[in-house]
Amino acid sequence: MTTDWISLPLVGLPLISSIVLLAFVAYSSPAARDRMGPSIRMASLVFSLIMLVLTTAMFFGSNYIEGTMDWATLSFGSFNYEFRYDWIESLGIHWTVGMDALSFPMVWLTTFLLPITIVATWHEKNAAVYFPLLLMMGGALIGVFVALDLFMFYVFWELTLIPMFFLILKWGGKDRKYASQKFFIYTFTASVIMLLGLVTVYFLQPENLSHAGAWTGRTFDIPTLTAHAQSANAGGAWFLGESLQKILFVMLMIGFLVKLPSVPFHTWLPDAHVQAPTGGSMLLAGVMLKMGAYGMFRLPLAFFPHAAQHFQFALLALGMISLVWGAVVCLGQTNLKKMVAYSSVSHMGVILIGIATMQPLGWAAALFMMFAHGIISPMLFAVCGAFKHHYHSMEIGAMRGMAKHSPWLATSMMFAWMASLGLPLLAGFVAELMMFLALWYFIAAEGWSVLWMVGPAFVLAITAAYYLWSMQRTIFEGGDDTQPPASLHGQPVPDITGAEKWAMVVMAAFTILFGVMPWIALDMMHGWTEAFFETLLIPILKGGA
């Protein structure tokens, strides 16, 4: 029996179940809605756990699911569980799904974070709508990662906006209206520009490639287009000509850089994060930002490697600026969540630098950063959420002496902060170390001065500074004679709830797991980047020299 369809339930289950649940909720009275809350929450948790079991089985591969190729040796351009179904035949649009070592870690991460998010925000109000929206978000995100068709990719890419828009709007903070609007408009504007780029590429392909539409004679199939671009780029020739390739590269990159986000397009992120509810922030930082980096690898870097090489320094500069800017701005934040949000900008800079080095090591670093940051940043936001939830304030210094009052939260916070600043043996460290090595190689190869390493190295110090400083002010300062924050109005200071403890412990455990044994994920990422360079980039880029 063939099991190619196995990736369909990953997209279908959360989307369909969430729509059914929401439709069900829409037709019940407010009182009934409150009554149904707990059971809907439980149903969402069960659905998300089923997906986690499924993806974990996929990871262990052939033992469980027939026809699975080993992830680490999956040859470049082939996909596990590839499945194609006609959608709009005349235009060459197919429902094409499949996973390789680029998308699978992201899919697993999404299914991993969904139950964690549900558990960590177990007591969110208006549960009957909130949890289905989280599920829908998860389904749309998985859809982006498994899509191997440009049309389908774009549909899911935009679909992620809608649940997130509502999550921010309905459960967000004081300025949620402004933040959700800004979030939507920024990313939508960027993606329509990307869409025009995609349509232009669509019509610039020769007619009658495989899976072409009966009517237009063109296809939206990503593997077909990648293969075509690869052959057109071969030997130093520029696919679509030099000027056009550069322009299309920029158009696609605008869509992805805004999503990532990179300075100067990052301003939506702090607003969205600060206003978003904890669950929204966790998924936003954990997976949604990675869509940008994922898209870069999947489309512009594979289609337009010459242009990527041409814009290498621009990308490097953007990465450096994001890295430094994000870190420096963090120093000045008094809002805990805003600080964490800017640290995300800084870490996304690391991904961009990794990409800009144009080396297998740098790209593997970027991939691993995507993955590691995907586990660590939800924990950061879970801590922020718990802080807000229990102390009704987000200000650094509103609560002091947490180590005494709330040992669990203090420990989680310390762990998450340490993981984010890159403590060895935790997942983030591996990615940062790889990025530094790759950057070092790059600088050496270019013959630049070692001084170029000062910026990124300096950022490490700043990162340590803002994290340690905020920890010092919230966890340790004050000691025994601290007063609880005024926002608690004399209530006893609570520690985090059992559900939150569970979520923290699981995230911490996986941070340690991937820090101590990074090869679990890194092997397949490394295999993929090596293959990308060997089969695609090197023949193309060296050909003309």
């Binding site: 829409a26 329509v192 392909q205 030099e242």
Partner: protein, 566 residues
């Protein structure tokens, strides 16, 4: 193609949808007057039932009867058109005794009839609740008056439909104009139908004055055209244009006709009356103006620009290329910027309709940019097919979500709201179904996947890009300058649709974020027919997005009938 004269065999069958509408007209005049009157045969005591007048029965005195009947007739016409379109198209031409073609029934005209009848059926269903029809027991003067004039409204809707289908079928410019005027005059009255409202009267007046001036200019153009060629048949005009279309007289005439149709599609600079008209009319009527009436204008433009003054007539690209390109950019940008500042949702939708007109004009411009020299014809026909398909698809799905948005507003209007954005406040709490529907309509208007608005926008962009890249040979020496400048129309279009998200999203924000206005906390009026119409719009909006394939195939067949005839 079968050619038949009037009332030959097959005539009634070929024009079945139109005959249904005519029967509907008579039924509407008769049905509400049916009573128990009898007629005494003179000089005897025998009374024969006569049915006209007397005491009206339970059914015929129901003020909702005309609305429901009209809905049924439009649905019937829609069904008949669908059957003849989907179940094997029997192409027919209706000719005069002299042999000149008057009407042509093909995929193209049928598709547009589907658009018109669909929109009008939904609008008439919605009007059943929207017009202040009260119960039979309402004996107040206003109640009696309102119940009395129900039938007038629906008769006007039927004549609108009839006029529109004549526009779709006409093969003669003069006939087309008659259909256009029949539909226009009906809509002028419909806009100002509720004459007690100041806005309605003012809107109708403005719409009528501007519209009649536009029609007058168009008619003058028509007469010039007749003066020049001696015939207003599309076939004759097309030949005449191909021979010497670059003379001053036909070009002037063409320009004047463009004014007439430009008003109908609310293209800048003829769009000034549209926002007032939409805001003053009842929401279902405004919905008809924004969808069916606009489709009629586009139909006219397509006929005029692509059949009569077809680009083939000149060497290379069409004469009107640059002018229309500039107008399309002005229209879409103006519409979007004006919509940003409107606080009346109906005005906002009107300006968004202007913006959509801009997108469609950009697509028509792209057709003009095609190269029709020898050796390019096949490729150009292919590309033109894509663009026309995109246009028809856009007009068809516009009926789903733009009309749907107006219908949601119409429910708000029945509680005297819908004129300010704030009256939408808290809709999510008051009526989750309406809020979800409105949000989906807004997202579809903005072009968010996987809704049908996205597919239509994608198709238009694809059409323009295809044209722009048609003459491009793909090799590694390609430069950006090789691409035709219409590509920038696509760029402006995506930038404009990014701007438009702002005001579409604002509706969502108000519905989900703001508290209801004072006095609006309770549930909305129920209104089964209008809710049903909204549900139909909602389902089609989603369905034609997710499963666009079938509709695209239909639109392609329709486009083929137009383009293939060149």
């Amino acid at each position: 193609m079968k050619q038949i004269e009037s009332f030959d065999e097959g005539f009634v069958l070929a024009l079945a949808p139109e005959f249904v509408l005519v029967i509907g007209l008579f039924t509407l005049m008769i049905a509400p007057n049916v009573g128990n009157a009898t007629f005494r045969i003179p000089l005897t005591q025998i009374r024969v039932p006569w049915f006209f007048g007397g005491k009206r029965g339970l059914l015929s005195s129901d003020p909702r009867l005309p609305g429901l009947l009209t809905t049924v007739f439009f649905t019937l016409a829609f069904g008949l058109a669908t059957v003849s379109f989907v179940g094997g198209m029997n192409k027919t031409q209706i000719i005069t005794e002299g042999g000149s073609t008057m009407l042509q029934i093909d995929e193209f005209s049928r598709m547009f009839e589907l658009i018109f009848f669909g929109a009008l059926a939904l609008a008439s269903a919605a009007s059943v609740n929207r017009l202040p029809a009260t119960s039979r027991s309402d004996r107040t003067a206003a109640g009696l008056y309102n119940n009395r004039r129900q039938v007038d409204f629906y008769i006007l809707l039927l004549t609108t439909g009839l006029g529109m289908s004549i526009v779709a079928l006409a093969q003669d410019l003069f006939l087309l104009f008659i259909g256009l005027e029949l539909a226009s005059f009906s809509t002028y009255v419909l806009v100002s139908f509720i004459k007690e409202s100041k806005e309605g009267t003012e809107a109708g007046m403005k719409y009528f004055i501007v519209g009649s001036v536009a029609s007058g200019v168009g008619l003058y153009g028509l007469s010039l055209l007749y003066l020049w060629s001696g015939s207003l048949q599309f076939a004759d005009l097309s030949v005449a244009f191909a021979e010497n279309g670059m003379e001053a007289l036909p070009l002037m005439a063409l320009g004047m006709l463009l004014v007439g149709f430009g008003f109908k599609v609310s293209a800048a600079p003829f769009h000034f009356a549209a926002p007032d008209a939409y805001a003053g009319a009842t929401a279902p009527v405004a919905g008809v103006l924004a969808t069916a009436s606009k489709a009629m204008g586009v139909l006219g433009l397509l006929r005029l620009l692509l059949v009569v003054a077809s680009p083939e007539a000149t060497d290379g690209s069409a004469v009107w290329l640059v002018a229309l390109g500039v107008l399309s950019v002005v229209t879409m940008t103006w519409g979007n910027l004006a919509a940003l500042g409107s606080t009346n949702p109906k005005r906002m939708l009107a300006y968004s309709s202007v913006a959509h007109a801009g997108y469609m004009m950009a697509a028509i411009t792209a057709i003009g940019a095609l190269n029709w020299e020898d050796g390019h014809v096949d490729m150009s026909t292919d590309a033109a097919l894509v663009v026309v398909t995109a246009l028809i698809f856009h007009l068809a799905v516009l009926v789903c979500f733009k009309l749907g948005a107006f219908l949601v507003l119409s429910l708000l209007e029945s509680e005297k709201g819908g004129h300010t954005l704030e009256s939408l406040g808290g809709l999510a709490k008051r009526d989750p179904f309406l809020a979800v529907a409105m949000f989906i309509f807004m997202m579809s208007l903005a072009g968010v996947p996987p809704l049908s608005g996205f597919v239509s926008k994608l198709l238009v962009i694809m059409g323009i890009v295809k044209v722009a890249l048609l003459d491009v040979t793909v090799n590694s020496n390609l430069t950006f300058g090789d691409i035709h400048w219409v590509w920038f129309l696509a760029l402006l279009m995506v930038i404009n649709s990014a701007i438009s998200v702002f005001y579409y999203l604002r509706v969502g924000l108000v519905m989900y974020f703001h508290e209801p206005e004072e006095g609006r906390e309770g549930a909305l009026p129920s209104g089964t027919p209008v809710r049903f119409a909204i549900l139909v719009c909602l389902i089609t909006t989603v369905f034609f997005g997710v499963g666009a394939g079938q509709l695209i195939a239909l639109c392609e067949a329709a486009a083929n009938a137009l383009v293939g005839a060149w």
